[in-house]
Amino acid sequence: MSKVKLVAKVVSQKEIAKDIFDLVIYAKEIANMALPGQFVNLYTNDKSKLMPRPISICDINKDNGSLRLVYRRGNEITGTHELSMLKEGEEVTVMGSLGRGFPVEKAENKLVYLVGGGIGIPPMLYTGREINGKVKSFLGYGDFTFLIEDMKEVGEVKVATISGCEGYKGNCVELLKQKEKPELVFACGPKPMLKALVDYCNDNDIECYVSLEEKMACGIGACLGCVCQSKEVDHHSNVKNKRVCCDGPVFSSKEVEL
């Protein structure tokens, strides 16, 4: 079975920036099989919140079987708000690993740019670790930063902030355009960022993969809640729709319309 649902013990949780939480859980079976760019579903205890929360995998420690999940806490009525209160030793139900991640095998010996915007940055960390090529990261933020030191472990890091509080003032795609052209791009972040990036990559004939986000229910491809537009008729849906949860969340920029 490639997906398991289990009760995981919380190793630690801390707020690493305003409303950005860094949660580490023991989930050995999931840690063993998870791939870069995949996500897990976390379940809240509040039974009036039915749906699991899809959260990208930030990092994996295969030695001790732990998963690191970095996510943004929503307002007080959200599931992530409840998750943010999990303490060391407590338990959380998790299902994973889910979705199709970044094709890191394509990165071998290439100059690869990892592009992350805001809460799209976390999945780029483990992705960077699994790349056997030259990695450069372009991280875009609003008015505060996080995970920069971690991202430095996988390669050179360039930072852009909209407020100008750190690094380049502006967005990370503008910054990236000023540098040498990569051979491959992996990205996760808000849609406008991904759109600008995909346009740049298409214009310059650069292979690009983007991780998309959409409201999900089942997380395993059954409910068809989380579709995105595909350029061609999809073999499964038989229409121009792909399922973000199981055909993605990572897609080639050539497959999808943003």
């Binding site: 749906m51 409201k215 229409v239």
Partner: protein, 302 residues
Amino acid sequence: MNLSVDLCGKLLKNPVLTASGTFGSGIEYSEFVDLSKLGAVVTKGVSYEPWKGNKVPRICETKSGMLNAIGLQNPGVEVFCKRDLPFLVEKKATIVVNVCGKSEEDYCRVVERLRDEPVDMLEINVSCPNVKEGGIAFGQDPSCLSHITEKVKKISKQPVIMKLSPNVANIVEMAKAAKKGGADGVSLINTLTGMSIDIDRQCFSLANKTGGLSGPCIFPIALRMVYEVSQNVDIPILAMGGAESYREVVAFLLAGARAVSIGTANFYNPTVTMEIIEDLKKYMIRHNIEDINNIIGKVKEI
């Protein structure tokens, strides 16, 4: 101990089915569930042509429930017959195909196409609230409902269950209309039309504005409607609406349903159907029930 029930002339292993639209065509859940152990798999709605469905966001969580406005996205009956049906046959599932359409002809073409396929039963969706021509007109007017039931029955080789909308003033009238048209059974309830507004962004939560409400929050409404129909119309009922454990299943059976479909609960517990079947057996032992049929319609006044 006997868990098997008769639904429209077809003997099901047990009264636990999946609700259309919540179980794909079984493929996605086969990793979690032995499809042959279910009473039946009720497939996602199948139309003649492929349907693209609605714009996203299509999903919104609500308290103890969810709204969906998928818009009946499906690959069309040809792909369904070539890919999904053989899979279900191979898994030895009992197969109920949910049929959707935009016109009477549309429904009839799907039913015609399925005539000689290995399908055990049809569930005709005349109650999707999310597609303008998704059959809701047939599901909200008794004479339209009788008419389309009659047309479908003329063509179908399999027993026909009409899936009714709860978004009507009188569910009993609708069930009577289905029976008048010759339906072998009725399914109730489909989702209730609802809405959600995101107050931070001050916009609708769903691209479609409205969606179908499902999940535990609708169970009491579904139970009341099942009871009303069972009291007033002599027709087999497949119940659905918010069942997430054996408790709701038992309540539906006591209210008069022959079998129960599990819907939204699959989304948050992929193995829920298997758990319910096991828990039903325990309930029967606890209450000394030899045959599950002995509780159907047997609710007593307090």
